[in-house]
């Protein structure tokens, strides 16, 4: 079936079997490989994107269910002039990624959390940030989220 949706602000039309997960359409049809395959069962969050602003695990939502909706991926976070999103900048400042494979999903989850809460508490971070990172970058993810929201920026700067 042909499906029309918006990806990173641009209308796109794709042809895919209706049960194809959004993840594989993004990666294989639209060449947006920043969104990662990790588990296929919505358990790890490596495939997290925003669908109409909601954090969504794209491996477990069918393309038919996102028809007409607006999808934002990691590639769509930066502004038109190429400036990185403040969360991406905080990720660099805190040197968060190790292998980096889960980090697109982590960043998308963090952006959604910040959009929803403004300045999340540790408890809100614990509740919302359920993506798996096997390298164990959680302390730096937490630090970067706080830094991006103006909290504890000094802790990030002063870390060595």
């Amino acid at each position: 079936m042909a499906v029309t949706l918006k990806v990173n602000g641009k209308p796109v039309s794709v042809t895919a079997e209706p049960d194809t997960p959004l993840l594989w359409v993004l990666r294989e049809e639209l060449a947006l490989t920043g969104t990662k395959f990790g588990c296929g069962v919505a358990a790890c969050g490596a495939c997290s994107v925003h669908v109409d602003g909601e954090i969504t695990r794209s491996c477990s939502i069918a393309i038919a269910d996102v028809a007409g909706k607006s999808v934002t991926t990691i590639e769509g976070l930066k502004s038109a002039d190429g400036t990185l999103h403040k969360v991406q900048q905080a990720w660099i400042a805190a040197q968060v990624p190790q292998c980096g494979y889960c980090q697109s999903g982590q960043i998308m989850a963090a952006v959604a959390l910040i959009q929803e809460t403004g300045s999340p508490s540790d408890a809100q971070i614990d509740e919302a940030m359920t993506n798996i990172c096997r390298c164990g970058t959680y302390p730096r993810i937490r630090k970067a989220i706080h830094a991006a929201t103006g909290k504890a920026a000094a802790a990030v700067q002063g870390d060595a």
Partner: protein
């Protein structure tokens, strides 16, 4: 009966791999026969390898130095790394080391993967190995014997493992290459400026003559400098003059990992490419006996079902079609005689072997049987198979066309991967190219000892007219792992009248000896380790810090038990058994101070300590933990002290210790691979739980003691003390000793 249900397994392990179409090369390091080779292996101007390295990498206006370095006339500095940066930051560290000695301008430095060619086999590691052959064993301290054995067998050295990148490649090769190249650049500058070399200084990729105020760019000196033969033993900088090393320079790979542009093996794409996914025999060792391919070919997008010896693969236009096709099949597999293996049968076999008392190997000192006495303190510990669970499942793309085979993706040894593909395809090694890409985690899983994915994708590519990307589903990844061994140990200790340990005996059973990754740090009169070997049908391998995880858990738990028995504080008890003035004692004392050991804690919270040396680095954790209402453990704080000798990039080293600690806690709390009827019972993150943000410690307070000892590893040593420190903390909190991991499974039982 605990006898091995499949007696063929031990025999099979001894059978050398089949070789076809690939001639074993002579023992070459850096492509040059060892005898007579200079430090860089490659310095002989007429060596074919040097010529090949130059051909592979050097374009117009670019000049190669000692294989690993290229300087452009535009001042660009390109460093070729034989290591795979899996996120541990080692490539940035290697670049810091070379650029430091070269006095290169950091913003002109870039580091790329060395081509997977013999010309770029890792001379630094090779030299480490050579150290043993030439009677200078010091150089190989801390590289596990399992790696050395592998190295000795194949010599296709581009391995990343054993926490070796900076210790060996960095110190043995890259600093030397930087220093020697700097001297060559100075020599050319001295000639051009007609001044003595001693009046010249270097900084920021320039050679400067202060007296005359003249200076020359490296780029304008490079062409002539590249024609000089390099000094084999250049003097290195005094560390007090470092400008790049010991600095927390931002990692080179991070920007592309936050904007989605980083390209991992999973992300590779080429026109006309198809995608395949695969299912191997659920009972490892089994074969594919039959499969009706009709249901898969009825799935839209599926193009082909390919039967392999022990697996079935579905090739389709995309992953979803391939997976849907595979799931529609009901393939039949034999069990290879392995259906008798279960978690319980393996533990039973371990118990029986230990009880029988005929060890396969022994280490230690003193007459332990006499000293242990009739009534030793005794405890039995058990740990399960562990899965690596790297976030990027296996994915390799291969294309066979016009007699050439190209493979793209990430493995921990690109050169060995190439050789394996040559062997499987029957092609000459020169017809096979492996293109290394970024790796989404590995922790030992992508080492060349178990490269089924390379074999599989090669077999698929050899019978397909188009490129094919083979992706393992997460389910395949979990069920077909190369696990940390399931292991059991019986520890016995005797406490003398002086309250000190008089004898200590560690009888452990698993696939094979753990001796090469076991450093027993305590200074005891009588101590012994005895291994009882029992292979199952599972592949066991290197899992971050290798055998140090289970051995660390056994020894640091049992020392705690002995302290309890002797009624001595656990830190004080350890102190009494460490050599005065030792690095271990310094680390222990520091972690006690930094953690506030002995200070009051809230009710229900306990404090536990553990100290383990692995890969020549000593790490001690003090963990504060309690038990949640639902019985699960809660880690509040981890205080860590590390002595890795010296550190190249402090912030990157910190990240490794943070992550290693969390991986150690994750495995201790929730992870286990279990077997029933020879089949792995776990399938995805739902039943193989990885620690998440909410359960990670809120506070990790990490300190480095730079003792100045030889550089130790940093990627692995944070892991082993985490499990015993947590178990000891929970004992302090509850009085209940944890002797079986993971903690959650024990809580359920």
């Amino acid at each position: 009966m605990a006898d091995n249900p499949n007696p063929n397994i031990e025999e099979a392990a001894e059978t050398p791999p089949k070789k076809k179409g690939f001639k074993r090369r002579a023992f070459l390091i850096g492509g040059v026969a060892v005898v007579g080779a200079g430090l860089f292996g490659i310095s002989l101007a007429d060596s074919n390898a040097a010529k090949k390295a130059v051909t592979l990498t050097t374009g117009k206006g670019e000049h190669n130095f000692a294989t690993w370095l290229k300087i452009g006339e535009d001042d660009s500095v390109t460093i070729y790394s034989p290591h795979t940066d899996i996120g541990q930051g080692s490539n940035t560290g290697l670049a810091q080391m070379l650029a430091e000695e070269l006095d290169a301008a950091w913003d002109k430095v870039k580091l790329v993967s060395a081509p997977a060619e013999s010309a770029y086999a890792n001379t630094g590691l090779g030299r480490g190995f050579l150290g043993e052959m030439t009677g200078q064993p010091g150089i190989i301290n801390g590289i596990p014997q399992s790696f050395l054995s592998f190295i000795a067998r194949s010599m296709n050295l581009q391995i990343t493992g054993g926490s070796s990148a900076l210790r060996y490649t960095g110190q043995v090769t890259f600093q030397m290459v930087g220093a020697a190249t700097r001297l060559a650049l100075i020599e050319v500058a001295a000639k051009r400026l007609s001044v003595p070399a001693s009046e010249l200084t270097t900084a920021e990729s320039r050679v400067t003559h202060a007296k005359s105020g003249k200076s020359l760019r490296y780029g304008e000196l490079a062409a002539e400098a590249a024609t000089l033969s390099l000094d084999n033993e250049p003097a290195l900088k005094d560390s007090k003059n470092y400008r790049l090393m010991r600095q927390s320079i931002q990692r080179l790979d991070i920007p592309s990992k936050v904007d989605g542009t980083a390209q991992y093996g999973m992300d590779f794409s080429v026109p006309n490419m198809r995608v395949a996914t695969i299912m191997a025999a659920p009972v490892r060792g089994g074969k594919l006996t039959s499969v009706d391919t009709t249901p898969a070919t009825a799935v839209k997008g599926v193009e082909k079902v390919i039967k392999l010896d022990n697996a079935v693969a579905v090739v389709a236009k995309g992953y979803w079609a391939a997976l849907s096709g595979l799931r529609s099949l009901s393939p039949q597999f034999s069990d290879g005689g392995n259906a008798g293996f279960s978690t319980a049968s393996i533990f039973k076999a371990y118990d029986d072997r230990i009880a029988k008392g005929e060890p396969d190997g022994e280490a230690g000192e003193g007459d332990v049987d006499a000293a242990i006495g009739a009534k030793p303190v005794e405890a039995k510990y058990e740990v399960p198979y562990l899965h690596h669970a790297m976030m990027e499942p296996f994915a390799l793309t291969a294309h066979h066309k016009d007699g050439k085979l190209n493979i793209w993706g990430g493995m921990q040894d690109p050169l060995a991967s190439k050789m394996k593909a040559a062997e499987v395809s029957g092609l000459d090694a020169d017809a096979v190219t492996f293109h290394p890409m970024l790796i989404g985690g590995s922790f030992g899983r992508r080492l060349p000892m178990y490269m089924e994915i390379v074999e599989q994708v090669t077999q698929l590519a050899m019978q397909l007219p188009y490129p094919v990307k083979l992706i393992w589903s997460r389910e395949e990844e979990v069920a077909q792992g190369a696990y940390r061994p399931q292991s059991a140990a019986r520890l016995r200790g005797a406490i003398g009248k002086d309250g000190k340990i008089a004898a200590y005996l560690n009888d452990y059973a698993q696939t094979e000896s753990a001796e090469s990754e076991t450093t027993f740090i305590y200074d005891l009169p009588v101590v012994a380790r005895r291994n009882y070997d029992y292979p199952s049908n599972q592949i066991t391998g290197a899992w971050r810090s290798v055998n140090s995880t289970q051995q660390g858990f056994y020894n640091e738990s049992f020392i705690d038990e002995l302290a309890h028995e002797a009624k001595v504080d656990p830190v004080e008890f350890r102190r009494r058994h460490l050599k005065p003035g030792s690095r271990h004692l310094a680390v222990l004392n520091e972690v006690a101070t930094k953690s506030g050991w002995g200070s009051p804690l809230p009710a229900g919270v306990g404090r536990g300590v553990a100290i383990v040396e692995s890969f020549k680095t000593i790490v001690a954790h003090v963990i504060e933990a309690s038990v949640n209402a639902d019985g699960t453990p809660k880690v509040h704080k981890v205080t860590t002290v590390v002595d890795a000798g010296s550190i190249v990039n402090p912030d990157a080293a910190m990240a490794q210790i943070e992550g290693g600690t969390i991986m150690g806690l994750s495995s201790a709390i929730g992870e286990a691979i279990t077997l029933d009827k020879g089949v792995v019972q776990q399938s995805n993150f739902g039943d193989y739980p990885i620690l998440k943000m909410a359960d990670a410690p809120l506070v990790q307070d990490i300190h480095f003691l730079n003792s100045g000892a030889n550089m130790g590893g940093i990627g692995e040593p944070g892991v082993p003390p985490a499990a015993p420190a947590l178990a000891n903390a929970l004992f302090a909190a509850t009085g209940k000793r944890i002797r079986s991991l993971p903690i959650l499974m024990q809580a359920k039982a």
